[in-house]
Symmetry: C2
């Protein structure tokens, strides 16, 4: 067990200007009144108008820095932890640095990517470097423009996603305080690598004049086999959580708040029942945000803190699945 004495010093979020209600999605998909709200469980989500991922990330970062009561100049590392990239080169963290007006600062900036779990893995990984003093104040930023890659012919996934950005400042726990990461784990089972993917846009299927046609367009869009993922998650998650609890000497009873990845309303509901977590200990923001890929967990964390559902000293479990497929979790004392 590797305890890391780190503290979330501040949190920030940004939701795009355009609010897209279920009604608009129903209309776009030719669905009857209430379909998106009732079948998908998402009443509201935000889509970018002219906002970029780096703009959303930088705006959330500014709030997190203010919330941490430090200055932008106190940041000594920027980690972008998003499942989608703004452009293939350079990494999004560099674009966020620029958007923050820190383009001459030299602050090291890089990306950590494990799709929907990017925030969880970045928090876990970078906490070791913060604990031992390599970095003092790290910005971890998740910012997702899901709307850029939705396949509107795949109704169930198109109606599920939303855009948004979140950021935290992670620092060393001050003397006399008890904030810490208690335990973290991640497992990747790539037998499910095709169940949630964007196939095109990388080196394997690079867009060019010959290949981007009606019939190949789907390769550039998000596709998800929700049933297969859910089946696998259902099989693996309870064991994964049990293992986390055993190895960290915790039990779900001693966790004050579970923040699951906001995968979908139905999957989250079943998972909560499966894990026997009471409703009041389960952050659920999917109905008014949609699934925001890696930004889902930190925005739910933000909401938990700002709504005072999470207090200093509380034990929090971040828990999710991601394309890969991966399962990941972090237990920390806020």
């Amino acid at each position: 067990m590797n305890i890391r004495n780190v503290k979330i010093l501040g949190v920030g979020k940004y939701l795009p200007k355009e609010v897209v209600l279920g009604e608009a999605i129903n209309k776009k998909l030719g669905k009857p009144l209430g379909w998106t709200e009732n079948t998908i469980g998402v009443r509201k989500r935000h889509f970018v108008v002219d906002e970029t991922a780096s703009y959303m990330g930088a705006t959330a970062a500014r709030e997190a820095v203010e919330d941490a009561n430090i200055e932008l100049e106190d940041i000594d590392c920027i980690v972008c932890a998003s499942g989608s990239m703004e452009q293939p080169i350079p990494c999004t963290a560099a674009l966020i640095q620029k958007e923050l007006g820190l383009e001459k600062s030299g602050i090291p900036s890089f990306d950590i990517n494990s799709t929907c779990l990017s925030f969880v893995v970045a928090l876990d990984t970078i906490s070791y470097l913060v604990d031992c003093g390599r970095y003092k104040n790290v910005l971890i930023v998740s910012s997702e423009v899901s709307s850029a890659a939705l396949n509107w012919k795949d109704e169930k996934s198109a109606a599920l996603f939303g855009d948004g950005g979140a950021a935290i400042v992670l620092g060393k726990t001050p003397k006399g305080e008890s904030s810490k990461i208690i335990y973290a784990n991640m497992k990747t089972y790539s037998e499910g690598s095709e169940w949630s993917q964007v196939y095109g846009g990388g080196t394997k299927f690079a867009p060019n004049l010959e290949n981007v046609r009606e019939e190949t367009m789907k390769h550039f869009l998000f596709s998800m086999d929700g049933q297969k993922i859910f089946k696998m998650a259902k099989k693996l998650l309870p064991k994964f959580v049990k293992e986390m609890m055993e190895e960290s000497n915790k039990s779900l009873d001693t966790i004050e708040m579970v923040i699951p990845h906001q995968a979908s309303k139905s999957a989250m509901g079943l998972m909560r029942k499966n894990l026997k977590v009471p409703k009041e200990k389960w952050m659920d923001i999917v109905s008014n945000h949609g699934n925001m890929i890696a930004a889902s967990i930190p925005i739910a964390l933000y909401e938990g803190i700002k709504q005072e559902k999470i207090q200093r000293g509380n034990h929090v479990l971040l828990l999710g699945t991601s394309a890969g497929l991966s399962i990941g979790g972090v237990i920390f004392e806020y």
Copy 2:
């Protein structure tokens, strides 16, 4: 100074089947005999035929695992450290896990990306987790299909790049041995974020039926303003290296081998003179590999080890620049 007691237990590489000589490049670009060889300084590079980034990475990984004298099952974390992705979702590390036949293993797999410096940053970052026992045997894999995004109208950059994959196994230094990471640093100056980029293919400029036309095609291809990058690197690198040496209590004289990013023949030559590093202490593989993005440094490291230019106990400096722009370096005892 954070010393990390980690050891490179094994190394592996993979070069694609197709060897592309300068002659073929000259012909493709309509250049006279010897142009690519003399102007660009790249006599030979490899381009993929049917190999994917994950295939190359997995093949290099198998060699590294064998070289480390362990089994694939002993690996407990896979980090893909590439500047290019195979597909936007899932992360390339998951695809490498699958290619290794480890799809049911659960081995945590994620990507760390800072373009050409991805390997350096991944080695630096993950070493903290290895040193404190979070992971025992980490595969760090860099695998790049540069050829997928070359802009053949930009002759100088098209003639420079090559494809390839490399891997290392990083583990805790056994008792009684002295391998360690002595010092590492990275700086990102995003004022240069547009000087080396692929603009399209991300969420900002997602390919769709309307936008991929002749005039926008260039956004999906690599572009580089080598002059601007070189000017900035020339200004910043000597100071960066001086700082590294001071903070690590080292001098360039006590470093047995410098492994620079294989950016380009001319840039490397000028840099070497600028830093006053003698030729025999400077790994240069660009003329028969080209610039292989993040795979350049680990393949040069591989060559240094296999050609016995780097021995156990030697001090090695990995040093490079990347799109971002970033500068990064690691000093380690092999």
